[in-house]
């Protein structure tokens, strides 16, 4: 059992929960995730990334968007309430080393799992430029934290209500073209955003790490539900990932597989995360031209 210590609502659909999880807090590293289950009789197990943690105080922070049954129920919980099961930390940690300049791109709630990675790259002595993308000002999260953790912070909104108007791929492309291009890019966000970030950096040969958040059941290397195609081979997000070389990931297949239960989730009155993102970037082909990358 895990007790909720704090709850914040970032926007209509995005919530932050700080929950007790002493072992996970002690052992988690940047890039890892947990599986959360509200009801161990009939509840599903959903992967959520770890946005923050404190080993001393024994808590982790989760940021989620209300998408399916479990996230809707989680959003109704309040400080003092319990979460029955949290398994983790899962997945391989981000490989952090001193590389020079690292650009970290976060879209939507992908900004939350990016935060520990930004901190870790900074702590390893890198210059970190962070790009946060959101539909509008209301949906920008972790701004103060990111500003404090990064050398430079660029905020981009679709409607121009805050920061620069446009898409995350625009400043990313400019950085790749600059006199001092990044040694590494980390992109976390909706699949379509990661796909186009990878397409943006590819012509410049900038190594680009993406963090995938697929459907999972056990999360421990048993069921194979999370499989993705990377470099033409089947890989398992739970034990081989969640981070992969963005230039090798077959995003189209992954996005298709994530729609497997779309009908069912729509019955739960949810607004498909990815569709919103597709709306956000508009027509993918047009978007590809914009970013100057994908064909």
């Amino acid at each position: 059992m895990h007790t909720i210590l704090e709850k914040k609502q970032f926007s209509a659909e995005v919530f932050y929960l700080r929950v007790t999880a002493p072992e996970i807090a002690r052992n988690r590293k940047a890039g890892q995730f947990v599986l959360v289950q509200i009801d161990t009789d009939f509840g599903e197990r959903i992967p959520l990334t770890i946005a923050d943690a404190d080993a001393q105080e024994g808590w982790i922070a989760l940021v989620f968007q209300t998408v399916g049954a479990t996230t809707h129920k989680l959003a109704l919980k309040n400080p003092g309430d319990k979460i029955e099961a949290i398994l983790g930390p899962l997945g391989k940690p981000t490989h952090i080393s001193k590389l020079g300049t690292v650009v970290c791109v976060g879209g939507g709630i992908g900004v939350a799992p990016l935060y520990p990675i930004v901190k870790a790259y900074k702590a390893a002595g890198n210059k970190v430029i962070t790009i946060i993308g959101a539909r509008n000002k209301e949906l920008v999260i972790f701004e103060d934290e990111m500003r404090a953790a990064s050398d430079e912070l660029i905020i981009v909104t679709d409607d121009g209500s805050y920061g620069r108007k446009g898409l995350v791929t625009e400043p990313l492309k400019e950085l790749c073209e600059s006199a001092a291009p990044p040694a590494e890019v980390v992109a976390i966000g909706p699949p379509i955003m990661m796909k186009f970030c990878a397409a943006t950096t590819k012509p410049y040969n900038v190594h680009t790490v993406v963090s995938l958040n697929t459907i999972m059941i056990d999360g421990t290397g048993m069921c194979g539900g999370c499989r993705v195609t990377v470099g033409g081979k089947t890989k398992f997000v739970c034990v081989d990932g969640p981070e992969f070389d963005g230039h090798q990931v077959d995003f189209d297949n992954m996005m298709m597989r994530m729609k497997a239960y779309k009908g069912r989730e729509e019955e739960d009155h949810h607004k498909c995360h990815m569709e919103m993102e597709a709306d956000k970037v508009g027509d993918p082909d047009a978007k590809a031209e914009l970013s100057g990358g994908a064909k």
Partner: protein
């Protein structure tokens, strides 16, 4: 074969029992006693329900079946049992009506008889060696040892006769058991009996491992597994669910910081094998592990209550010929499929599944497509499976396993329309332990290397079950658990060196 109810079979057995119960039976008389069929639910009805299919023997059926045992002095059945259950002895107790003694006799060698009686491949173990079956020239006519084992175990449970085994006085030693499947539960029981503290770590939210996430309710009711876990709890074994050793804490954390004196790794099956054919990542292609876990552990069949969604499919194809393939086929009916194909590239004789499961699957309407193998999975414009393309085979010369190997017949490819495809071709090893435990020696295939006492390359660490054997059976995992527990107990008692080196 006409379907007989438990009442009909029971009534027939009463008559036979009355005719033999007071007689002095010669071996010839025993050989003439008709083998007792175990009742099952009506196939048409049961294929839509999750409840257990095999209904067990009645009292008289058990006693009649027990009377068939010749009580051979050389006990070939015992030698053929991976854990050496004293089979003729427990069967003699059943014949005498002393069920309590029968179950106590089994438990000297096997702590989980209600489970093994249901899921062991008896026709390849004890029953394959049975003298009666050999005399009658069919393993199907051997004494039904598994059904008798199940009968007494169920009698004990149904009559609240289960007494947790005695636990020796505390030794002050602590043992970590990683994984709560058949290997882990066996180790937990045997090590706890010696007076050591035992904590079992389980990554899932429920205990029982493959017996809970993999083997379906209709073959092994979860209440039976829960009962075994309850017995361990009553003995003082502590269970920690939602704890993934390797990630939540490493083995080294447990041994060095948490001061466990020994650890046993029984983490079981790993990543499912796929076929590496086009279309395998389409929507509607599942590993059997995922398909069965969704249905069993996550209870997706209970659509009104379960949050885990179910993939709707009217026509389902399962590829594979083992027990897991049979489970997936039969589960598909229970999840609403109207047509289920089992695609297997050899023939029925080569199928590795238990004969009873194959028979039950056939009775329930599974259509077997032998000598065929998928070459491609085809999808519609939304990425959902619409058909599987198969190639035909014929049987050629025997291969290394002694089975006639299938030879492809080029040009025989054809499409079979399906809505879902389930791949049940076994598992690779789970990479997690090796990934997170420096110095743990594994084979090229990723299985943990152990010596004859189940000791790994790491001091104070033992391993057993599927993580060592690759995909095997419940009983083999338990056998390894027994060996490991003995070695752990010897080590903790100071009677054994830590490691072979």
């Amino acid at each position: 074969m006409s379907h007989k109810t438990k009442e009909q079979l029971g009534a027939e057995a009463v008559q036979i029992w009355n005719s033999i119960k007071d007689a002095q039976l010669s071996p010839k008389d025993r050989m003439a006693i008709p083998p007792q069929e175990m009742a099952t639910g009506d196939p048409a009805k049961r294929a839509r329900e999750m409840s257990e299919v095999a209904l067990g023997y009645t009292d008289e059926q058990a006693r009649v079946e027990a009377a068939r045992c010749l009580g051979c002095k050389n006990r070939p059945c015992v030698s053929a049992c991976p854990v050496g259950v004293p089979i003729p002895e427990f069967i003699a107790c059943i014949q005498n009506g002393d069920y309590a003694k029968a179950v106590a006799t089994i438990k000297t060698a096997n702590l989980l008889p209600a489970i093994c009686g249901r899921v062991c491949p008896q026709e390849r173990q004890c029953q394959s060696a049975c003298t009666l079956g050999k005399s009658l020239k069919s393993v199907d006519l051997s004494v039904a040892i598994g059904r008798l084992e199940r009968f007494v175990a169920d009698w004990e449970r149904d009559n609240n006769r289960i007494i947790p085994p005695a636990v020796a006085s505390p030794t002050g030693k602590k043992v970590a058991v990683i994984g709560s499947g058949p290997a882990g539960l066996t180790v937990a029981a045997d090590v706890r009996r010696a007076g050591h503290e035992v904590t079992v770590f389980e990554a899932f939210h429920k205990t029982g491992g493959v017996m809970v996430y993999g083997i379906p309710e209709f073959r092994l009711p979860k209440a039976i597994v829960q009962k075994e876990v309850d017995v361990l709890k009553a003995m003082g074994v502590v269970f920690r669910t939602n704890f993934l050793v390797g990630r939540t804490e490493t083995i080294y954390d447990l041994l060095d910081r948490e001061k466990y004196d020994a650890a046993f790794i029984g983490t079981g099956a790993g990543l499912p094998k796929f076929m590496d054919i086009p279309g395998e990542n389409l929507i509607g292609v599942f590993s059997a592990n995922e398909y069965l876990t969704r249905a069993n552990l996550m209870k997706a069949y209970d659509t009104s209550r379960a949050a885990t969604p179910l993939y709707q499919a009217k026509t389902v194809a399962v590829v594979g010929g083992g027990n897991v393939a049979m489970d997936a086929c039969r589960m598909a009916f229970r999840l609403g499929a109207e047509k289920v194909y089992c695609i297997y590239r050899r023939t029925r004789d080569e199928m590795p599944a238990r004969v009873e499961e194959v028979n039950h699957a056939e009775e329930e309407g599974v259509e077997f497509l032998f000598l065929k193998n998928p070459t491609k999975i085809l999808g519609d414009e939304t990425g959902k499976v619409r058909a599987v393309e198969v190639l035909e085979y014929e049987l050629g010369e025997p291969d290394a396993s002694g089975r006639r190997s299938p030879v492809a017949k080029p040009g025989t490819e054809h499409e079979i329309p399906v809505d879902a495809m389930i791949v049940a071709l076994g598992n690779e090893s789970n990479p997690l332990m090796a990934q997170t435990t420096d110095g743990l020696e594994t084979t090229k295939r990723g299985n943990i290397v152990v010596d004859a006492k189940q000791r790994t390359s790491l001091k104070r660490v033992w391993a057993g079950g599927d993580i060592v054997l690759g995909a095997a059976t419940v009983i083999l995992a338990m056998g390894e658990g027994r060996k490991a527990a003995k070695s752990i107990n010897d080590y903790l008692a100071g009677n054994e060196e830590e490691q072979a080196d």
